[in-house]
Amino acid sequence: MKNAMGLIFGNIHEKELPEMTAGRTLGSLPFGGRFRLIDFALSNMSNSGIEKIGIITKSNYQSLMRHVGSGKSWDLSRKNGGVFFLPPFGSGSGGAYSSRFEALTFNKDFIQKSDEKYLVMSDCDNVCNIDFDKVIKFHSDRNADITVIYRKKTIMPHDVKKRITFTLDDDGKVIEAKHKIMPTGVHNIYTNMLVVNRALLISLLSGESDVPITSFSSDVIVGGVGDYAIYGYELEGYFAGIDSMANYFKHSMELLDESNRDALFDNNGARIRTRVRDSAPCKTGMNAEISNSIIADGCKVDGVVENSILFRGVEVQKGAVVRNSILFQHTVVESDSRLNCVISDKDCRILEGRVLSGHSTAPYFIRKGNII
């Protein structure tokens, strides 16, 4: 018997990236030239030996279902277990869920019908390479009820906002949890990933707790520090949470650094997998000038590409200049166009001689299928 199952929240933080999630879940947002955000959670769970994973979604989940398919790409097409899509289930009360706790309640049956001892939860926008097996060992060694995964981060003045933070004792036990605006400085910040004993979760979902629960983070984690044995596990290494377009842009550009890329995509053999498509290789022409860029298969480049990320099937024609930009699948940049700090969604076309520019803190975004 496997000792852990997984749950991924497929539609988290979408209101913070409305443009990019207009026609998709955050989980299916393209990232890093060929990946989708959910690839990280799926690969991390699969690499940690988790073989039964539920994906909780509530809207716009077509692209996500198409991407994940049977789960084969992550070796998750299994006879026992595998990937389960958990869209809203009509139960009379109607409507999609509005909170994480409500989503869990809706899917109580799925959690109940399993026999794994532990449950690993992750958001779909956690970009990292983590071995959950180590977290589970940490959790079971300490007889914990819940183990939250946190990371140490220095909060800068421009980045002050409401966060969940922890204070821990020497053994990693959480002695205080806060959900408020934290001042600048180093904090232990929650990553929205945790391990929980399945039996405890079921009892919470069955309304067996003393206090009424409306929010998982506030009532169970922050409010439950005195009631449950909550421990904190520190995630070291690369981590990015995608919760705004500026953040998306910033974290995407971090991948141009080889050490980030190596740490993220191949952590001692634990690789991030994605659905493999059969594009032809990337092809460059005689006039191509590429520097510090990620170029996916199926791209044809005959222009200048600098500090940029090109997804599958992008075309940069002769004389075009693409700088500091992220171009999604099948974007075409015609000759003599100039792009700087642009994010283009799928199937955009930038006609000859156009000049577009944004700023790294406010990238110029082109909606899917637009012609400029």
Binding site: G33, R34, E258, V276, C282, A288, I290, I294, A296, D302
Partner: protein
């Protein structure tokens, strides 16, 4: 079982001796090609794109990597409940220990497989050619002509004709003459090694041939001439398009180069995708001081040096200050810093040190320097153009 119109038998057992170091450890069809592919991907993808869902793959020489690569056939959509890919390796039978002697013998030994499917026709293919072809059109012509055997032909340059099986046929496409590798070719219509037989006719011929002790049990040398002599209905099917036998170092290098340029001889980007088994490496990265002109590369590649007119396979690393020109670098190979490679073919998982010089800028397609699979080339080594470096057997 549902009736099938046509199943395919793919001959993939050849050693490919003229590829030297490239096939010391692997069968020719499994050799890396065109950045993302292995040679056999083209034939398998053609099957997938021609609605052929049952393919027997005959392997013999060094089949480990090939078998592993083909697996359940899923990348080519050939993981089928009824049909799909089947690896057919030589087996031991009561009182006999039988390797495949010739191409026809390989099929003959697998008659059991061939006849278990209720198909009217059998397509015979070889796994060592680069081309995109819709076999279903050839099958239509074969059926329309009520042929016992249809042979795909391509017109080659007259000077090369003596390297092929050469056909003569009339306006009705009926074949009247065939010579295997003739000294003085009577035409330039070359056999592509792609045959469609009526299944019953093929079974009959294979059994007859196996009883002939003087036969070499080969399609080109024995089966085709004998059928022709017996006035069987044999037709040519003319193929127009790119087709290349990649049996030599020069032709394999040329075929790789044929993928480059704004109007390549072989277009990988058009209709009829070529499928392959690939890993989820992060995409190609070209560094600040790197460059890549008129080249192909794919996921997992890291380019810190300069690459020109070259083809890089999955997971290739080109170090800082290195220059790669007119070369083919295969899967997983690492090239150090300040190394210069001209007219080279470096096999999979080789490790080339720093300051190495391989080949020569003024060399050409007939003098390709070849570095074998997994070979380690120490720093500052010089390897002449046309040299072959491989592990001692």
């Amino acid at each position: 079982m549902r009736k099938k119109k046509c199943i395919a038998m793919l001959l993939a057992g050849g050693q490919g001796t003229r590829l030297y170091a490239l096939t010391s450890n692997i069968a020719k069809p499994a050799v890396s090609f065109g950045s993302k592919y292995r040679i056999i991907d083209f034939t398998l993808s053609n099957c997938a794109n021609s609605d052929i869902d049952t393919v027997g793959i005959l392997t013999q020489y060094r089949p480990l990597i090939l078998n592993e690569y083909i697996g359940n056939g899923e990348p080519w959509d050939l993981d089928r409940t009824d049909g799909g890919v089947h690896i057919l390796s030589p087996y031991q039978a009561k009182g006999e220990n039988r390797w495949y002697k010739g191409t026809a013998d390989a099929i003959k030994q697998n008659l059991e497989f061939l006849t278990q499917f209720d198909s009217d026709h059998v397509l015979i293919l070889s796994g060592d050619h680069i081309y995109k072809m819709d076999y279903s059109l050839m099958l239509d012509a074969h059926i329309a002509a009520d042929a016992d055997c249809t042979i795909a032909v391509i017109d080659v340059e007259q000077k090369d004709a003596s390297r092929f099986g050469i056909m003569e046929y009339g306006d009705d496409m009926r074949i009247v003459g065939f010579e295997e590798k003739p000294k003085e070719p009577k035409s330039n219509h070359a056999s592509m090694g792609v045959y469609i037989f009526k299944k019953d006719a093929l079974v009959e011929e294979l059994i007859k041939d196996s009883l002939d002790k003087t036969s070499t049990n080969d399609f080109g040398k024995d089966i085709i001439p004998k059928m022709l002599a017996r006035k069987k209905r044999m037709f040519a099917y003319k193929f127009k398009g790119y087709w290349k036998d990649v049996g030599t170092v020069t032709s394999l290098w040329e075929a790789n180069m044929d993928l480059l340029g704004s109007e390549p001889a072989m277009d990988l980007y058009g209709a009829d995708k070529i499928y392959s088994r690939n890993e989820s490496y992060p995409p190609l990265y070209v560094a600040k001081d790197g460059s890549m002109k008129n080249s192909l590369a794919t996921a997992g590649c890291k380019v810190y040096g300069r690459v020109e007119n070259s083809v890089l396979s999955e997971d290739v690393y080109i170090g800082k200050g290195s220059v790669i020109r007119n070369s083919v670098i295969m899967r997983g190979t690492h090239i150090g810093e300040n190394t210069v490679i001209d007219y080279g073919m470096i096999d999979e998982y080789a490790h080339i040190g720093n300051g190495v010089k391989i080949g020569d800028e003024n060399s050409g397609k007939d003098k390709i320097a070849l570095i074998g699979r997994g070979k380690l080339i120490p720093d500052n080594e010089k390897i002449a153009s046309g040299a072959i470096v491989e592990e001692e057997a």
